[in-house]
């Protein structure tokens, strides 16, 4: 059963930066792009589980800090010549608060 979970205020996340959301079973990286686009992705690189939350974000993707794979924040897929995929989650922003669908 999916539902919207309240995460945090928009300002808590730096533009082009991220925060880690610790859920019961999984860590999720929430990124904030230009124009306050919010992305949520499992905090585990499909390559060797690197923490994507610690990478550099650009456009709709993030570069993993461990070995520089580029991961799409929209689909969770590795971009370029690399292959692999991690989970992404739906988000919304209401009154300056971020919600995540679980």
């Amino acid at each position: 059963m999916s539902q919207w979970i309240k995460i945090t205020a928009l300002e808590e996340i730096p533009v082009l930066g991220s925060r880690v959301i610790e859920m019961d079973t999984v860590n999720i990286a929430v990124f904030r792009g230009k124009e306050d686009k919010i992305f949520a992705i499992k905090d585990q690189c499909p390559h060797k589980q690197g923490p994507l939350s610690q990478g550099i974000m650009h456009g709709d993707s993030v570069t993993c800090p461990l070995h520089n794979w580029k991961i799409s924040l929209v689909s969770g897929e590795a971009l370029g010549a690399d292959e692999g995929c991690t989970n992404v989650y739906e988000t919304k922003v209401e009154d300056g608060t971020i919600y995540l669908k679980n």
Binding site: V20, M23, G55, I56, A81
Partner: protein, 815 residues
């Protein structure tokens, strides 16, 4: 007809240059145009330069297809296969094919290439007389080889020799006729050409040198060739490989200005602004090119303008040559003949078949000609394009780059001789055959492509040279060569220098400013350019920082580990410590249950496995005990290694330890293009290894020797001696000045060793030694930039700065 309002882009000439432009354009603007391609050959675009290996039975036609029919479909490109354009109607903006097909255009791209130049000899139109240009020619040669025995190739140049080699492989008895007294005179000097001829003769090729052809004999089909000296040779097939002739008729008859080629400007635009031209058919700044490397550079620029980005500029290309005859290695570039003002470095060993010649003008390479051992061709070529002053390694340059020291590969230079399962890339465990397969199967052209697909040389980069030569040997030709202008990354066409100058000249203030003012292709840049730009900004504006544009290590002030924890290395100035220091570190380790500790190679202590959220608290305790960050994580000043010096050592000449501490106090905290290490040894026994550091001091009885540009890492490089000084004060001044010059001049991620090899020691001497005013100015700028840099980042964060970064948000499941 489609009703779309998109503009029509028509390409005439389905060859290597034209299609490369389309590919580049699709990368930039996938949907901007309706693209219609006319090609008079009945195939998709294939890799023309691979026709030689196809003829030599080393490759199949399928293997050398670049864009097959599927590709056109998948990319929504309308492909008019086998249709030759006969006319361009510029008034009504349409092209008309021989079969009557008409197509209107908004933008037209002419890429008609060239054709074989056929000597105007009597009998040239006989059956069995052909050029060597396309698949049709190869088909004729293969068919002839089945029926006939004897072949003659006119032309002892690159193409002629490749044709002759291929025909031999097809079983024919081949004679090469050449007008000159030595082969490949445009690419080789006589000595190298003689060695080449000898090895080809050993393979069974025959030569008639200094022979001028007169008439082609035979009835309907060729049966022989007569020469001006009255002699005759019999043959069943005659291949002319004496040169190429740009295909200009179409452009000329439609009134486009042509000289030797279609004349274009730096945007590859012809005199008609809606018509672009590219490839072998064009003439740019007086040059007509016949190799693919320049055409690929042109393609990038043309695509940039067709995408209406408008900032690309083609400024010409320096080219180099290789011969694709298996078992023969030769390489040449630039002016390899020289003149009165040039010097020649020469190495000849006829017995082993090795010949190396470099032409220098004022200690800068202007030409190279290599035979037998060509592994260093790309290195010399790069030095040549960079205009590097090579005086410091002139003595050993002919022995090659490996001779300069290479921790990874030593003298493993003969890539061809390496076994298929030989490991090329130690970091990523990639072996030779994996790379070769990726290149052939995925049709890779460039080093970047190979990196993306195989990861080879993508990490520490020490095997880059090996991968480049594998690329060159696998695809042949020279178009693996890095373009003469290397852009910072895919987000911009600009080089490191151009970005830097842009920031300085335009006084750019931040990242957005840089990307907007300098026309970046991407809104946010990427991980590569953001970090570089951040450094260039920081260098102009001391104290500048955009955390989101820094690698996590520099953002979190610790080294990220493979499990996502961090390491903590407190600074120990000059490696000195007290019992209290060690106790404080031990207390921290106990309190935070640090899983592992180690004495580093940099004379200090590393604590591993610390959780990100604990970092501020760890730092707080360390800070209270008097420690600051060791910047072991930064593109920054790392350590100053010292030996014990004259305070204890019986050999010591000066107080190396206290000088080391002073140097570290001066430089700690400074952000650099790359990591930056110092050392001070108390005597020439050099226990602190000062001669493999970025800045090293070797104390001697009469003063201090200053050494710069050393590296003990991936590629070991011994320092260059810079100067001998008398006092500690001078050492500090020179250190600050040298460091500042490096910060202001080197590319981001370029350590002092490759930097010095690129720009030459003379440039450093001129800035730091010879010009006292400049040295003092550099010193002053260094001190200014140190003010905001020596605020300990750990203390700042321990006091609460940017606390969010270290805290995750915990969500407890509801319902």
């Amino acid at each position: 007809m489609s009703l779309s309002t998109k503009q029509n882009l028509v390409l005439v000439g389905n060859g290597m240059a034209g299609m490369r432009t389309i590919e580049e354009l699709i990368k930039l603007e996938p949907t901007k145009y309706n693209i219609i391609v006319f090609g008079d050959e009945p195939y998709g675009n294939y890799n023309r330069i691979m026709l030689s290996p196809v003829l030599a039975n080393e490759k199949t036609l399928e293997e050398v297809m670049l864009n097959d029919d599927n590709w056109y479909q998948k990319n929504n490109v309308n492909f008019e296969k086998g249709k030759k354009i006969a006319e361009i109607d510029r008034i009504h903006k349409k092209v008309i094919a021989e079969d009557g097909t008409e197509q209107s255009y908004d933008k037209l791209l002419i890429a008609t290439g060239s054709k074989s130049f056929m000597l105007p000899l009597p009998g040239v139109d006989k059956e069995g007389v052909i050029g060597f240009r396309d698949v049709k020619d190869v088909d004729i040669m293969v068919e002839s080889a089945k029926k006939y025995k004897k072949a003659v190739v006119i032309g002892g140049g690159l193409l002629g020799l490749e044709a002759a080699n291929g025909l031999m492989k097809q079983g024919m008895n081949v004679t090469v006729v050449h007008i000159n007294d030595f082969l490949m005179e445009r690419q080789l000097d006589k000595a190298a050409a003689t060695m080449l001829q000898k090895s080809l003769e050993e393979k069974g090729m025959k030569f008639l040198m200094s022979h001028a052809s007169d008439e082609i004999l035979g009835e309907q089909r060729v049966t022989g060739l007569s020469f001006q000296n009255g002699t005759i040779i019999e043959t069943d097939l005659l291949v002319m490989a004496v040169g190429i002739k740009p295909n200009l008729e179409l452009a000329k008859t439609s009134g486009i200005h042509c000289e030797r080629g279609i004349v274009v400007n730096d945007a590859l635009q012809t005199f008609d602004p809606s018509i672009y031209a590219i490839g072998e058919c064009v003439q740019h700044r007086g040059n007509v090119y016949g190799l693919v490397a320049p055409l690929f550079e042109q393609a990038k620029v043309a695509a940039n303008h067709l995408a209406e980005l408008g900032y690309g500029r083609y400024e010409g290309t320096v080219t180099s040559t290789m011969l694709k005859v298996t078992g023969i290695s030769l390489f040449s570039a630039g002016d390899f003949h020289g003149d009165e003002d040039t010097e020649e470095l020469l190495f000849t060993d006829f017995a082993s078949g090795t010949y190396k010649k470099l032409i220098l003008r004022d200690n800068v390479i202007v030409g190279a000609c290599l035979y037998g051992d060509t592994i260093d061709g790309s290195w010399y070529f790069q030095l040549m394009k960079d205009g590097t002053n090579i005086s410091d390694f002139r003595d050993s340059i002919l022995f090659g780059q490996a001779h300069l020291g290479d921790a990874g590969h030593g003298d493993e230079t003969r890539i061809v001789a390496m076994a298929d399962n030989a490991e090329i890339c130690g970091c990523n465990g990639v072996c030779k055959s994996e790379i070769v397969n990726a290149i052939t199967e995925k049709k890779l052209f460039t080093l970047d492509d190979v990196r993306a697909h195989t990861k080879a040389s993508a990490s520490c980069g020490s095997c880059t040279g090996l991968v480049e030569s594998l690329l060159a040997h696998t695809i042949g030709g020279d178009y693996s060569q890095a373009p003469s202008k290397k852009s910072l990354c895919g987000c911009t066409e600009l080089t490191h220098e151009e970005v830097r100058t842009g920031i300085r000249k335009l006084g750019l203030k931040d990242h957005d400013d840089v990307r907007k003012s300098l026309n970046w292709k991407t809104e946010d840049g990427c991980a590569v350019c953001r970090q570089a730009t951040n450094y260039y900004l920081l260098c102009e504006i001391p104290g500048y920082n955009d955390p989101e544009s820094r690698f996590i290590n520099e953002r979190a002030h610790g080294n990220i580990q493979k499990d996502g924890t961090y390491s903590v290395v407190p600074r120990m100035f000059g490696g000195m410590c007290t019992p209290n220091d060690l106790r404080a570190i031990a207390d921290v380790a106990d309190k935070f249950k640090v899983p592992e500790m180690k004495v580093t190679g940099g004379q200090r202590i590393d604590m591993f496995g610390i959780k990100k959220e604990d970092l501020p608290a760890v730092w707080k305790d360390l800070g209270e005990a008097g420690f600051v960050s060791g910047h072991a994580y930064g593109k920054a000043m790392r350590t100053c290694k010292t030996c014990i010096g004259d305070s204890w050592c019986r050999m010591g000449t000066q107080d190396s330890t206290s000088l080391g501490v002073k140097l570290e106090e001066l430089t700690w905290g400074s952000w650099m293009p790359h990591k930056y290490k110092l050392a001070v040894s108390g005597c020439p026994r050099n226990c602190a290894e000062a001669t493999i550091k970025d800045f090293g001091v070797v104390c001697v009885d009469s003063g201090y020797e200053i050494h710069v540009g050393g590296n003990g890492g991936i590629k070991v490089r011994v320092t260059d001696f810079l100067v001998k000084l008398d006092t500690e004060e001078e050492v500090l001044e020179y250190c600050a000045a040298f460091s500042q010059f490096y910060r202001e001049d080197a590319h981001y991620l370029e350590r002092t060793a490759p930097w010095i090899e690129r720009v030459g020691l003379d440039k450093i001497k001129a800035a730091v030694l010879d010009d006292e005013v400049n040295r003092k100015a550099l010193y002053d700028r260094f001190i200014i930039s140190q003010k905001p840099a020596q605020i300990d980042p750990w203390k700042k964060h321990a006091d609460g700065a940017d606390a969010n970064q270290f805290k995750s948000i915990k969500i407890v499941a509801t319902a």
